[in-house]
Amino acid sequence: MKKIVALLLVLVMACALFAACGEKKSEGSQSDKPAGEVKPFVIGGIGPLTGGAATYGNAAKNGAEIAVEEINALKGDVQFTLYYEDDEHDPEKSLNAYNTLKDKGLQILLGTVTTSPCIEVSAQANADRIFELTPSASSTDVLGGFEDESGNITIARKDNVFQMCFTDPNQGIASAEYIKTNNIGTKVAVIYKNDDAYSTGIYQKFISQAAKVGLEVVSITTFTADTATDFSVQLADAKNNGADLVFLPIYFEPASLILAQANSMGYEPAFFGVDGMDGILTMKNFDVSLAEGVFLLTPFSADAEDEQTKNFVSTYQSKFGEIPNQFAADGYDTVYALYNAIKKGNLTSDMTNAELCEKLIGIFTSADFKFDGLTGSGVTWATTGEVSKAPKAVVIKDGVYVGYNG
């Protein structure tokens, strides 16, 4: 009996393998089909569409979808076919998602959305020579080739990888400088997640920059994924040390708990977050009034008055029923940056991946390639893969982001 069950399972397994092969072929022929007259570029995105970080992945995906629809509607020479795969914010799953995209004929990669998976995928994309522009994976290890203070290099530069967002160190530095120059707080408490690359990366740079600009840090407390349910100890420490500003380089879910608990213990400092805080307003079952007065560092605010942002926000709202956050804008911008670069280089979709990769690297690093998007104007890229654009802070007022000017 056992043998037969085993045999059956083996058969199922074998069928599964071949089913996958069959799938590959059909997907391949599908992408070969021309949409209209021009053969579209196959671009792929990877991000957490399910699980704890799903807000980021879905926002980036929605943003990218809008951009692709707009570009395809122009019926120009450049058309895109976008595939988006889920990685559950896990490097292992992310690499699987990347391989799935390759089966679908991936030519250019827009992703991944979160940091650790992106470190994994970018190494593979580098080996495969596929150009990668990530909307929001902010660690320097994504790009590689960065020295820390003592001159150590952890990972070599992956020359095909570029970022649409600020790097973690730049966010930390920008936050410290922003708080100091705008005088938002004098005594700072930091609560960060010490089992998270993103959070620790920002924290380390924030602390060293705070020391440089003369910002007083009075309390530093940590939590991990397992202890992210109660913050009374951390908040009490901040309160007892007289902190008037709490810096939260963390994702919005724990941040929402911190805001609620601070409120219930009657502690009212200013809260300052970074891009991970983005998304707090669209969180389910969260009392938005708690986030009143929270600052966050983000390159995008949905209330901006320019034409491009207004159009994007209204399209996004009518399509997905919520106000887009920074990740949606990053997703949108990556597609347009790519579009502009392809236009500029007159690239065609019948080039090989390696050719596209070399050409795109050349265009992105060239001095005269400037990009105007939702998250900044006159955006340029350095050969290190870093983006250069001005950091902006917004403050939450009446449940919406409002640009903060000193």
Binding site: M1, K2, I4, A16, L17, E92, S150, I155, D196
Partner: protein, 357 residues
């Protein structure tokens, strides 16, 4: 011809089946017939199959519950990564780095297994489950605070930050919560397959030996075993340490297949995932566990087509398999027609034979 013992026959069957499956997969993979997606899963499957064998040794054969097996995997993974990265300055041969990493992973995981096992396995009851559960969490939190780097003068270690490593233009191997980044990707499918063979052979040999009979006797009736003068603690420890060493080897193989691993990867969920392999394949059924591991790693990838319903489908499949393997009536629905079919195809094997199933 001398008649073979049933266990020997069963082992020959397993080795044969493994070899055939491996050869077919290997040829298909090198010929580019298998999709990129499945091809990328092959080495993780090898690692998870080893984990399944390893945990089956503890849960199925020894009869003790381990809820922190990912902890041993983690120890193996990180010590293996450090070994491989440090060896990069010595040799460029990837296979050599991998083998050294696996060996060192095994040693460190075995040491961790002994540390956990020596006090706990003397006790009678479910204490191993509790302690391994804690062990998994402790390892995760410890590794979150480890900073290890290598430069020309050797390995550096700190528990504060990377700056206190005092390195001179070196490479940071383990960077606290950011985990290990820039790991040499040296794992190969052949080494992965050999590792499965080693783990299976070790388990089969332990089970079918004098030691194995003692271990199974401990599982079935501890008091009877003690009364005939067999040292319970010794045999338990022996099995548990072997199991931990296998987990360490699997961890090293797993880690060296990726450029980055974080301590968070080896959390309670991963431990439970491995336990699910074992339970689904049948506790004590090593072959079943191996198949379950393969199926459960491949399944979520094959279900990508159904998008967001993926995890729902995954759960449904799990429940269905549980029902079908544990319900005689339900099993009959599939097995009986299959029996008829096989009976027609191979007339000689049609009758009898499966009474022990």
């Amino acid at each position: 011809m001398k008649k073979l013992k049933p266990t020997t026959r069963s082992n020959i069957f397993t080795y044969g089946a493994l070899l055939i499956i491996f050869t077919v997969v290997y040829i298909l993979n090198n010929g580019g017939v298998i999709s990129n997606n499945i091809s990328g899963l092959l080495i993780p499957i090898c690692a998870y199959v080893c984990m399944s064998i390893s945990l089956n040794l503890t849960v199925g054969i020894l009869g003790e519950l381990s809820l922190g097996h990912a902890g041993f995997m983690s120890v193996g993974a990180f010590s293996g990564v450090i070994a491989a990265s440090a060896l990069r300055n010595v040799t460029d041969n990837g296979t050599l780095q991998l083998i050294a990493a696996i060996a060192i992973g095994a040693v460190f995981a075995a040491i961790a297994g002994a540390i956990v096992g020596v006090p706990v396995l003397r006790l009678n009851g479910d204490y191993l489950a509790i302690v391994t559960l804690a062990f998994g969490e402790i390892i995760k939190n410890l590794l979150n605070n480890f900073y290890i780097g290598v430069d020309n003068s050797g390995l550096h270690f700190s528990m504060k930050d990377t700056a206190s490593l005092n390195m001179d233009k070196g490479t940071v191997i383990v960077n606290g919560p950011m985990g290990a980044v820039g790991i040499p990707k040296v794992s190969t499918l052949i080494v992965g397959f050999i590792l499965i063979l080693i783990c299976y052979a070790a388990t089969a040999n332990i089970t079918n030996s004098r030691t194995g009979r003692a271990i199974k006797a401990i599982r079935d009736n501890r008091i009877a075993v003690e009364s005939v003068g067999i040292s319970v603690a010794k045999y338990k420890l022996m099995t548990f340490v072997t199991s931990a060493a296998m987990a360490g080897m699997a961890g090293a193989l797993y880690a060296l297949n990726y450029t980055t691993i974080t301590p968070k990867k080896f959390d309670f969920n991963t431990s439970i995932l491995i336990l699910v392999f074992v339970v689904l394949g049948g506790i004590g059924n090593v072959r079943g566990g191996m198949i379950a591991a393969t199926v459960l790693v491949v399944l979520p990838e094959l279900l990508r087509a159904v998008k967001d319903y993926r995890m729902l489908m995954y759960a449904v499949v799990l429940i269905l398999v549980m029902i079908f393997t544990n319900n005689r009536k339900a099993r009959g629905l599939i097995i009986d027609p299959a029996k008829k079919l096989f009976g027609k195809l191979i007339p000689k094997r049609g009758k009898g034979g499966d009474a022990n199933g």
